[in-house]
Amino acid sequence: MTKPESEWKWKELPVGNVVLEPGNASQYRTGDWKSLMPVLNKELCIHCGLCYIFCPDMAYNLNAEGFFIADLFYCKGCGICAKECPTGAITMVVEEEK
């Protein structure tokens, strides 16, 4: 959608609430759902990319320095990346305490 759901007025909705803009789920902040967030210890990271492969929300992206970093706009804090990381480089921490 061209604007957040909470800003739509009833008269503006398309007939049948048809979504005319494909792929607009990318604008939805699923990151709001998390209580835990992944924190990467770059010292331990071996750049294997397992976090990127296993992430169910495709929240991980490769940055310019060659690290896979979770985009917190999408990351739901499931912790699969931390579980799968072979070197224990990813720790889940309470988001509010970060």
Binding site: W10, L13, V19
Partner: protein, 391 residues
């Protein structure tokens, strides 16, 4: 005037669906709707109707198929009764907010238990709030006519709602009546090919039936509700156009001997014809009794109903379904709510009559009017009872 042909009302209904040139039919046979579906199946098999007839394993699938075909832009038809409608009910609630112009005939039949195949309105009342435009018919001609009306209305860009045409099971569905068939040329003129506003097409992808969060659901529901309410002007306009085409004019609320009546019977469906005979008899005795027949059930025609009834002293509302543990039958609840805001309003006495196909004769209507007038005179201004039950 076109030729009148004697035919079973179910066959006339199926012929109307053929003349409406539907693209997809999906239905599961159930008494008393069966003859409609059987005849359509024959018409497709014989090559008389160029449509897909999709046999399914349940009514839930029948309407799901129509939902999909309608979303792809096909003029779609289904038809059911009673338990079949109950099984289909989940999809009825989905079709309407998606604004898919499916037309469904319901050959109204009692919902179990006890198991019964006969006529009343308990089936359609179970999906009262599903958001379809809902019409009740009195005779075979009205059923035939309303198939065309329903498609023209449903597919209008300013409407885009599914439509239910209710016909009383057996009382209409299995009776042979004279039907004035409309020439195909006239039908084609009245009902142009369906031009969907949105449809599922790979060249123009859209999402239908997406998820909505609490932050937007209420807005979607208000737009749904306002769209259904504002379809009223198109309903009137299209009934007028149909009348100009055929000479048969229909209204949301039909009245008979109502203008100077002190007591008004209020009916919905085929029992309106019987009630009119009762009104004639009571008029012969000099009684100021009239009749108001609700043709359009959703959107409920509040203004037309009030215009027809507010002058009367009392309304005798006949319901064909029980709202178990509720305030009376569903029609009476609606009627009471419609007039509640008026300072001067008639008393409402409610009878549930003719459930599960029990005959309601003209003399039954007279007895109900007698009873209601006495009860109201004695101060029971909102009585309710199931009529004719052995004590």
């Amino acid at each position: 005037m076109a030729k009148r042909v004697g035919m079973e009302v179910s066959i006339a209904a199926a012929e109307a669906v053929k003349q409406a040139n539907v693209d997809v039919i999906s239905a599961y046979p159930i008494t008393p709707q069966t003859h409609i579906v059987e005849h359509l199946s024959e018409l497709v098999a014989n090559g008389e109707l160029d449509a897909e007839f999709i046999p399914v394993e349940s009514e839930h699938s029948a309407l799901s198929v129509c939902l999909g075909s309608s979303a792809a832009g096909a003029r779609s038809f289904t038809c059911t009764s009673s338990q079949g409608l109950a099984l289909m009910s989940e999809i009825t609630y989905i079709t309407s907010p998606l604004r898919l112009p499916i037309v469904m005939i319901i050959a109204n039949r009692t919902l179990s238990a006890p198991l019964s195949i006969w006529n009343d309105h308990s089936d359609v009342m179970s999906i009262r709030d599903c958001g379809w435009i809902q019409i009740f018919t009195e005779n075979g001609q009205e059923v035939y006519d309303h198939v065309f009306f329903a498609y023209r209305l449903a597919e209008d860009r300013e409407v885009l709602f599914p439509v239910i045409v209710n016909m009383d099971g057996f009382i209409l569905s299995h009776v042979i009546e004279p039907i004035e068939l409309i020439d195909q040329e006239k039908i084609d003129q009245f009902l142009p090919p369906y031009q969907p506003l949105y449809r599922l097409h790979p060249d123009h992808p859209v999402t239908m039936g997406a998820f909505a969060l609490p932050s937007i659901f209420a807005e979607t529901k208000k737009s749904h509700e306002m769209a259904l309410r504002s379809s009223m002007s198109k309903i009137l306009e299209i009934w007028k156009a149909f009348g100009d085409l055929t000479g048969r004019y229909y209204n949301p609320i039909e009245t008979y001997q109502a203008e100077d009546a002190e007591t008004l019977l209020v009916t919905m469906g085929s029992c309106g014809e019987t009630a009119s005979v009762a009104v004639d008899r009571m008029r012969e005795e000099g009684r100021a009794v009239g009749l108001v027949k609700i043709r359009l059930w959703r959107p409920f025609p509040f203004e037309a109903f009030k215009k027809a009834t507010l002058r009367a002293k009392q309304l005798v509302v006949i319901d064909r379904a029980v709202s178990v543990g509720g305030p009376g039958g569903p029609v009476a609840s609606e009627v009471k709510a419609a007039i509640y805001g008026e300072e001067k309003r008639p008393s409402v006495y409610n009878f549930v009559a003719g459930i599960s196909g029990r005959d309601v004769t003209p003399s039954d209507f007279i007895k109900m009017v007698d009873k209601a007038e006495i009860e109201i005179e004695e101060g029971n201004r909102a009585g309710y009872e199931i009529y004719g039950v052995r004590e």
